[in-house]
């Protein structure tokens, strides 16, 4: 790993990371801060929930029991929006962090220095890992603080399990973004494929949850294995699934790394 490149890349991604982290934090705070109002609505909210189409409610993990606690309420938005937003940021950054140098023509500058390609790739992955950890850690801290402020008797084990699943899921999407970046042309606008992959995975699972006849679809989605919706009131860490998806993320990054070592650099 090269220190000068690491610092330069962090600085280069600072603005983008700040914007995305800000969006995720604002959203997290907004959800948690509106929970007390929902809770006060009591029966009216329960009526509203029961009026929703059953398939729709199942698809998005919405029901009156789930929304009876701040963790359940938060889990709906964590699964639908927060992990998607974090995944889009880290996966799109992963897809472009190496290829951007080629797209902008600066790869020639970088790779005519005494840096091995392995050092360039591993340094860029270290930057990506740092950005991932920052957005994940800051969001988790704000979520914990928000639940402590706006909720009562928070089941912290369930929160920890949900965030462990979120960690593995977003890391997997990040690895998939890195691999996409190595497979597609550097001139590709990666936002489309990345958003497609993440939203596609989510909706595949949502559709499968909504109708039993297509439940088999969920096997193709990581959301099946890494539960985020609080369906039954509590949640345990799926250690096996977490380990599997973290391992898959590392394998995807390793494949992209190997491709980078042996391919031509565009000028």
């Amino acid at each position: 790993m090269n220190r000068a490149l690491y610092l330069k890349e962090l600085k280069r991604n600072r603005k983008n990371a700040t914007i995305w982290t800000g969006i995720v934090l604002a959203f997290t705070l907004m959800i948690l801060s509106i929970y007390p109002s929902f809770a006060e609505m009591g029966e009216e909210m329960a009526k509203l929930m029961s009026s929703m189409p059953e398939a729709y409610a199942r698809a998005f993990g919405i029901d009156s029991n789930t929304w009876a606690s701040i963790v359940g309420f938060y889990s709906t938005y964590y699964g639908v929006y927060i992990t998607l937003l974090m995944g889009i940021f880290t996966a799109s950054t992963g897809a472009t962090i190496v290829g951007k140098e080629e797209r902008d023509g600066t790869a020639e500058f970088l790779l005519t220095h005494p840096l091995s390609r392995a050092a360039v790739s591993s340094t860029k992955m270290a930057v990506l890992g740092t950005l991932f950890l920052i957005v994940y850690a800051v969001q988790s801290l704000v979520a914990v603080a928000g639940m402590a402020v706006f909720g009562d008797d928070v089941p912290w084990e369930t929160v920890a399990a949900m965030h462990a699943h979120g960690f593995a899921l977003v890391l997997f999407f990040t690895g998939a973004g890195v691999l996409l970046g190595s497979l597609l042309s550097v001139k590709t606008n990666f936002m489309g494929p990345v958003v497609g992959l993440i939203f596609g995975s989510y909706f595949l699972n949502a559709i499968a949850r909504s109708t039993e006849s297509v439940e088999w679809l969920s096997y193709a989605s990581p959301y099946r294995y890494l539960q985020l919706h609080l369906d039954g009131g509590s949640m345990d860490v799926a250690w096996g699934a977490c380990a599997a998806f973290v391992a898959m993320a590392l394998i995807l990054v390793a494949v992209a790394h190997r491709r980078y070592l042996t391919r031509d650099i565009l000028g």
Partner: protein, 293 residues
Amino acid sequence: MAAIELNGLTKSYGTSRGIDDVTLSVREGEMFGFIGPNGAGKSTAIRTMLGLLIPSSGTALIMGQDSVIQGHVIRKKVGYLPSEVHYYNEMTSRELLTYHADLMGLTDTSAEMEQLAATLELDLDRLISDLSFGNKKKCAIVQALLHQPDLLLLDEPTSGLDPLIQNRFFELLEARNAEGVTVFFSSHILSEIQRLCHRAAVIREGKITAIEDINSLLAKQMKKVRLVLEDGHAPELPTGASDAHWSGSKVTFDYVGATSDLVTWLAAQRVVDVTLNEPDLESIFMNYYRRES
């Protein structure tokens, strides 16, 4: 040990041509020209030497080390000036050159940076995005020289530079070469190669067609001669003249031979005006290849 040793170096891009079986050797301390028309494969050869492109076959040894396996070690000793400069637009030249020094593992290069920038009239504190092509090229020259490399790989280095700065750049190159730095100078402008280099390789359609001592190349170089003679004077053209076209008292012809013989012949004619032109590169090549074949 040769500074550069290319052995059967080939780079192909699927069906399109890159370079084919390029073999040449550049001695340490030599100024070596690499001349060929646009698209001949000059940049491909240099980018392969730097390890940016993976050779399809053959090897490139730079200061005895393989460009693919030991590329990162080689690049510590190499200054590279690309034909087209692409930098980080959000940086100033000073920030970029400091970043370059950091990547090179250098500590304090500010004095050298200031001196080179002053020589080339480069404002170090302007954003890269605000620089003209010529000024970006000046920044690239400072970058190539700043870390005191043992070998300079220069790819069309003068494009975008005005004649004054070109001249200063050539003086910098000559000074570095006098200190023992090897210079590999790629260009499609023959006069630049003539001025600086000891030997030159000619590349055409990806293949090396000749490696010549510059004096030998000059001796074989064709000149385009245009004469306006006094009315009624139509002498026999000198030995070495070809492709003559008469129009009244005016004649143009190609000349290959000793310049002194041409001057002696001209002195004996009733000449109103004379123009000797360095022909364009394609004409030199066509003439050169015709004679070589």
